[in-house]
Each structure stands twice: as structure tokens, then as C-alpha cells.
Symmetry: D2
Amino acid sequence: MTEIGFVGLGTMGSAMARRLVDAGHTVRVWNRSAAAAAPLVAAGAVAAESPAEALETGLVFSMLANDAAADAVFSAEALAASTRRPALHVNMASVSPALARALASRHADAGVGYVAAPVLGRVNLAAEGKLNILAGGDPALVDGVLPYLTVMGQRVWRIGEEPAQANLVKIAVNFNIIHAMEAIGESIAIVESHGVDASGFVELLTSTLFGGVSYTGYGDIIAHRRYQPAGFTLPLGLKDLGLAEDAAAEVGITLPTAPALRRVFETALAQPGAEALDWSAIAEVSRNSAG
Amino acid sequence: MTEIGFVGLGTMGSAMARRLVDAGHTVRVWNRSAAAAAPLVAAGAVAAESPAEALETGLVFSMLANDAAADAVFSAEALAASTRRPALHVNMASVSPALARALASRHADAGVGYVAAPVLGRVNLAAEGKLNILAGGDPALVDGVLPYLTVMGQRVWRIGEEPAQANLVKIAVNFNIIHAMEAIGESIAIVESHGVDASGFVELLTSTLFGGVSYTGYGDIIAHRRYQPAGFTLPLGLKDLGLAEDAAAEVGITLPTAPALRRVFETALAQPGAEALDWSAIAEVSRNSAG
Amino acid sequence: MTEIGFVGLGTMGSAMARRLVDAGHTVRVWNRSAAAAAPLVAAGAVAAESPAEALETGLVFSMLANDAAADAVFSAEALAASTRRPALHVNMASVSPALARALASRHADAGVGYVAAPVLGRVNLAAEGKLNILAGGDPALVDGVLPYLTVMGQRVWRIGEEPAQANLVKIAVNFNIIHAMEAIGESIAIVESHGVDASGFVELLTSTLFGGVSYTGYGDIIAHRRYQPAGFTLPLGLKDLGLAEDAAAEVGITLPTAPALRRVFETALAQPGAEALDWSAIAEVSRNSAG
Amino acid sequence: MTEIGFVGLGTMGSAMARRLVDAGHTVRVWNRSAAAAAPLVAAGAVAAESPAEALETGLVFSMLANDAAADAVFSAEALAASTRRPALHVNMASVSPALARALASRHADAGVGYVAAPVLGRVNLAAEGKLNILAGGDPALVDGVLPYLTVMGQRVWRIGEEPAQANLVKIAVNFNIIHAMEAIGESIAIVESHGVDASGFVELLTSTLFGGVSYTGYGDIIAHRRYQPAGFTLPLGLKDLGLAEDAAAEVGITLPTAPALRRVFETALAQPGAEALDWSAIAEVSRNSAG
């Protein structure tokens, strides 16, 4: 097995890196706070002193927390400082399409390949290698990393030849989730106010015309108002809504419902402590509007 | 088997009445244009000369085309003219909650029981007895008609003791469908404009986080723009959206996205010939907004 | 709500009776050891002093442990001693078709109606009212108890006009489960002996061509050899296999695999302590046969 | 895109090769009767004059009809006659484990890599790229062909490092299908003889405890006795049963039901014309045994 790098060891990154270690690869792992690397090192990974060291393997996967972290760790300087070529960076985090384009260009300038491979699925699926992976980038580069992606995910979806397209599709999926949560919230507000039980209504929805974890999972959370611990917070949800708005604006597309959805997020976030709530707490806005 | 009545023989009503005939019941059937009764009579039903004759059996099911038809056929005069008591009317059409309340009151005045039992499912499921039936009304009355409802549906959902509650839940389900169609339309508009194939995107959605016929069925229709023949037309969709708005307004609930959804329907309907399109054609509004 | 009786308060019977209590019915409950009635009485049920007292309500459901218990509690003497007529007994336990026929005849002699309504589903589904109920008997009698059956189950399947037919179908379903468990066991024995992981193989089966709890549930149990606590024991499984053999023999049908399946059960039961194992432990017979 | 070869253009092979052509690869196709290549050539493939020519690309996939064909086309002589090295042969047909071992050894002698990649799924799934692919062989070789396998299948299952293990797992999956068909057949024989409708019984099974195409697909075929056209014939089914028996015997495992299943196949095949029937026609053996 070859030696590879993995940068960004939050809960998702750690679970994904662990799959690679367990599959027999030598994985040089790095995280800003080094403690996160300990369990992986115990399982057989090698601690890298710096992201550059991980990149020097020639193939580095990253799952950094946000755009700023990805931007900083894979700066032009950092890329230029690495010497190993050919080299490839597979960014599995859900960065913005704008950063994806900047990173693609920056990597190209440095002679490093760049593939976007954001994922659908939470940490439990990551641990079982059952993520859905949305791959964007040069098909030959994607081909080359399929052996690793198929260890981390049950299915790899080829989205397009531009890395940013994969990030865009991830945003479009999340936009559908926002709609589903809002629809559940508004419709529960209606039926509850007329004396119909919310959880019975959700059972009806999900036993008949609606399925998938978007409806079953969020329906259950909303019916029982279990917004903590958050799987994905309200501020992150609002950020993703903004990315959908940006992606539409860029090509002159109108998203008729987006302004209303934005106001819902803002109303939800105006409550004290709302930053820590799951994004499905937008459902409370309609519920709370009842006299 | 007892004798019962069935009024309103459109494609849905005919399929439902046929189930009752095939189960061995003597069914007195009536339709405004009598020709619709012919296939049922050939299968063993008895043609009634008037709705009153169907009501005289003591138990009549109805599946009339719209509020106006239900209001006219089950007028105070018609109910008063029937003499058989006890008598029960099970209204399986998706009338407005307002009419449901008016009918419940009117039937009570005439000493006739009233149950609302709107359905989820199209004519193919009706023919196989696999509808989902949303039953609202006096539990003892609902109990009494379970032998008939379980012939027409695979599952009977007890919604509440007021008939109008069942109609309200049907509207809330449809409101979720409207949201799903709009979310699919807006997100397809985004990804298509960035070079991603619509049907591949729908396959991704429905293979991962979204399921049920709302997403699989409408996703497929929207991806391929197959808006004709319509399963449910744009004007009917807009009417149902209005019923959701009314139901919310009645109890002082705010539906943040409803005004935007209404504008989408209105924009879609402004196109020539749009009245005949499936309601999922609302998805074209965002797609058409692209430069 | 009417007053009804419920006899036999094991874990399944208690969960089912509880649904009836929670739906607002007055339920006279009886169990051989009276302590089992306490939680139900706390929830609003009324303790009956004898099965006869439950039968005197005119409608009694039973979920007794086995044929012998049902035979004893609903003896000709017990039925004759009850005076309330009309009266109906709905037997929801999985008794043998032979006893079903004897009970049907005995009840008829006493002027008491008899319906068989065995169920699919364990106690968790019973508690949620999501059992599948297989109803056999006079359609008018089944119609009359639908209000109660739909409280205990999500779907009522009309099997036929003879009560024994419902018990027979239950046995035929269980025969399919036995085959599924044996197929899983034999095929795991093959692949494991050739170095393929059992749980990976089960995941493959259930992600591709096989589904439903028979394959997913028992596949998981067998892959990980979790035969305790038993959901349904080996001796009960062998008894059900015998009932399938009897049902076939009665009409001159050959079941080619039954003798082999019987030997598998007997081999499994020859191990010390096997009586307490789940019936899926038959899968170990092939696994243990490996040199 | 690289140039590759594809040998064996039956309905499955043609659909699979077409996926590779449509993905932009240059595919040298060969079939014993050359006419089968015409549609692929029209779609952009290149006709090879001989299997050797396809092998000369350095990477050849094969989907030949049976063991004999695979054995003949990939003879030691044919392999030795090819000069291109490194070279890899991915055999996607369901050959016997014995031939898989012989081929693996023969290829190794010739310095050609060998991977087994039998598939689950019929031609409709092949055409949509939704096969499940069971991959066995050197992990590095499997890694290298993932770009092609993920074009033909929705998911690639890594079975083990020996090619024969993948063929063995395919046999074990088919053994489960045989059991399912036999269980359906025997249980339908029982219930039908007692007056219960076969298709209603299958609907009960597949709506409750059994799912996946094994139960839904074969349940439907058996209930309605639609054994023609055959998806997979009785003689092929008996051959696969024999392979399961061989695989068990090789490691000293006892398959208790196999002798009975073999007799069922032999009895089914004793009927005139049975060779052309679908293997699920084994279900008729019990049904026909009824007096």
C-alpha cells in the first residue's frame, strides 16, 4: 500500500482517515491541534509535523473545518513549498464553489492536481465507509483516487470536470434539505394549530409520499423538537443557503423562495442560544408564529 | 353484503366504487353524466336515478369533482328530502376545510352522519385498493365504515374527530409536495446552469437523502419536463396552496414561503396553455429565469 | 367506547391490550398469573376474575401462550358457561390449524363467533400498533372487529372465510423465514470456509437482492451469532416446521426440503442449552460441520 | 481515455461494453459471431479480429457465455501468444471457482494479471451502469480497474485477494436465491391447497417480512407462473447449485438441504420443454405434487 496524507481530523476527518488506515495504507495525518491525531496514530497512522509533510507523500486528502482553514492550509506558499511532483490534493470538505475555483487555480499554478470530493453522510456513515462522495475534477485524477474514495464511501458520483461543480451540487442538495425542513415546519404549524398531533402527521408523511433521511430524520427531530445536540447548526445552514443564493445569482437564476427562507433563518437565529441549535430549528419559526 | 351508495364516478370514484362492487357489495352508483356508470353496472353495480336514491341506502360514499359539486349534490334540500335514518355520508373527495365544516353542520341538521375520508394516491393505487385514507369524524362512525374503507385503501389513518381535520391534513401533505417540487425546480435550475445534468442530479437526490414518490416521481417528471398529461394541474395546485394559506391564516400562523410559492404558481400559469400542465411545472419558473 | 375482554397477558398480549386501553376502550383483562394484569389495570383496564368474565363482555380477544392454553381456557364447558349472546372470540395467537378448526367448531356449537387473527411482528411493533394482522373467519365478524384490529395493527390482511386459513398462512410465512435462515446459514458456512467475512457477505446480500427483516434481521443475528436472548426459540421453530409439514400432508403436498430442515433443527437442539437459543441458531449446523 | 478490450458480446456483455464506449473509452470488441459487434461499432467501438487483438490493448474485460468459452478463449496458448506486458484480464462472467483458480494460475504463468469481477443484475441494470460488481484479486489490480468498474456498476464489492473468492460469493448469493424460490414455491403449494390465493400470499410476504428482488421478482413470477421467457434457465440453476455443493464439499461443509434442492431441479427438468424455463419453475414441483 502506498503512503498518503490526511489533513483535518475533526470527527468526520478522523473517521474517514481511520478507514484508510484500516485498509492498510500508511497515512500521514495532521491536525491543527495535534491531540486529535493520537487515536489514529494508535491505530497505525503516522503523525505529520506539518501539512507540508502530508503533502509530500504526493497524495493528500483534506477535511478541514471551513473555507478559511482550507484557504490557509493550502495557501500558494504552502503549495510552492512542497517539492514532490506529481502531487494531488483531494478536498473532501464542503467549501464554497468560489473557494473551490480559487483553490483549483492556485493548485494548477503550483503544479499540484486538485479534486473536490465533498460527501453526503454524517460520522456514523463515515465510520462504516458508507458515505456518498460527490467527485469533481479531471476524470483521470478522479480515476486515480477511486481506490481511496471507495474505501471511504459506498458510492462515488462523478459530477463534472470542474472541482467547483461538486461543491455546487452539495449546496443544491442542502438547499433541498432546507426546503424539506421548512415544509415540515410550516405544515406541522398548520396541523398542530388545528388539533392534529405533529408526530402522527410526520409518520403519515413518511409512510406515504415522502422518504429518505431528509424527511424521516428531520421529521422526527422537528416533531419532537430535539434540536440539540445539533448535527449541523443554524449558522452553518444559513451559510449554505447563502451559497445557493450566490450560485444562482452568478448565472442570473432567480430562486423565488430564497429571500423567505433567509428571513426564516434570521428569525430563528434571533433567539438567544440559537447558534447552537440544529438547522432544522427553522421549523419553530412558523410554530412560534401561532397566536 | 349490504347495499350502499356511491356518488361521483370520475376516474378515481369509478376505481374506488369498483373495489366495493368486486368485494361483493350491492352498490347504487350515480354520476352527473350517466354514461360513467355503465362500466360499473356491467360489473354488477346498480344505476341510481339520483343522488337521493344512493343516499336512501343509508350509507353513501362520494368522490365528487370539487367543492361546488359536493355542495350542490349534498345541499340542505337534498339531505332533507332523504328519509332513511340512520344515514351516513362518507366524503372521500379533497374538499376545503371550510366546506367540510359547512357539510358537517348541514348533515347534522338533517340528522345524517358525516365523515371526511380524503385519500392519498392516484387511480392505479385506487384500482388495487392501496390508497392511504385520511379519516376524520366521529370515531364510532369511522369504525362502522372500516369494512368499506379497508377495501378501498391499504391503510386508514385516524386524523381526528372533526371531519375538517382530515381535509386539513390532506392540504398540509400537498403543501409538502409543493415545497418538494419547488425545491427540485430551483436546485435543478442552479446545477443545470453550471453544467450538471438534471436527471443525474435527481438520481443523486433520490438515491441518497430523499425518497418517496414525491421526490422520485416528481423528480423524474421535472428532470425530463414531462408535464403532460397532468396528474394534477397547476390551477388545482394553486387552489390547494390557497387552502393551506387559509388554514394558516385562520389560526394566525405565518407561512413564510407561501407568498413566494404563490407568485411561482402565478408566473407558471401566465404562460399560454399552462392550465393543462401538471403542477410540477412550477419547476420551470426558476429554470426559465436563467439569462 | 364499548367494553371488551382480553385474555392472555404475556409480553405480546400486554402490549396489544394496552393499545386498546389507550384508545379509550374499557378492557376486562385476565391472565393465569394475575400479576401480569397490574400494569394494565394501572393504565385503566379492569381486572377480570376469570376468562368467563372477560367473555361476558360479548367480545373477547385472546393471546394465550400455546395451543394447550387456548384449548383449556376456551373449553366447551367455558363457552357453555358464558351466557352473553351474541358473543365473539378473536384469537390472535398462532395456534395450529387443527386447533383453529376445533375451536371454530366448538365455538359454533356454543353459539359464539370465532375469528382467527394471528399477527406478524414482535412486541415493539405491538406497542406501536404496527403489527400486520392476518384475519380469517366470517367476513361480517371480521368487519365488526376492524375498529379494534386497526388499533393493534397497521394493516389487516383478509385471508379467507375459515379461521384456520389465517393460522395456515402464518405457518407458511414462518416456513419462508426458516428457509431464509437456513439459506443464510449454509451460504455463510461456504463463504467463511473460503476466507470471506460473514458480516460483509450479509451486507452484500441485504444491499442487493434480499431485503425485509427476515434477511436483514436474521442475517445480522447469524453473522454475529447473537442467538440470545431468543426472539423465538428453536423448539418453537421446530413446532412451526411441523405445522407446515402437517398442513402439506393433509392435502397431499410434498415439501421436498422439509425433512432436511427438520434434521437441522434436531441437530441444533441436540446441543446442550439449545432450547433457549433463537431459532436462527439452525444456521450453526452447517457452520459447525466444517472440518 | 485509454484503449481497452472487451470480449464476449451477449446481451450482458454488449450492455456493459456499451457503457465503456459511452464513457469515452476506445474499446476493441470481439465476439465469436462477429455480428454481435455491429451495434457497438456503430456506437464507436472498434472491431477486433481476434481475442488476442483485444488483449493486446493491455487491459481486456470478458463476459463469455460459460466456463468452456472462457477456458478456450483464454487458453495458455492464447495468453502466451499475446506480447503486450503488463497486461490484465478482468473476467466478469460467473465462472466456476475451479476455473477461476485454473485461469488465475494460467494467467500468472503467462505474466498476465487476472481479476474476477462477476456481477449481480440483469441487462437493464447493466445498461444503466447499476450492476453490483463482486471483485476478487490482487487489490492493486482491482484498484487499477475501478475507473472502468464504476462505469459498469453502481457499487464495487471487494471480496478478497483470490479471484475465485468472488466467484464463490456469487454462487453463495445464487444459493440464497434458490432457497428463496423453493420456499416461495413450497409455501404457495401449501396455502393454495387450502384455498388461499397465491398472489395475495406473495403480496403479504413482500409487504411484511421479505423484500428485495429475490422475493418481489420471483414471488411475482411464481405466483403467476410466468416462467418464460427465462431470465436464467433451470439447467443453469442446477449447474449453480452444483457449484455450491462443490464449494461446500471442498472444505468439508455439509449443506443439509442441497440434496433435496437437487432432486427438485431434477424433477422440474424431467418435464418436457423444461430446459427453456426460468429456474424459478422449481416452484412447480411442490405445486404439482398436490393430489
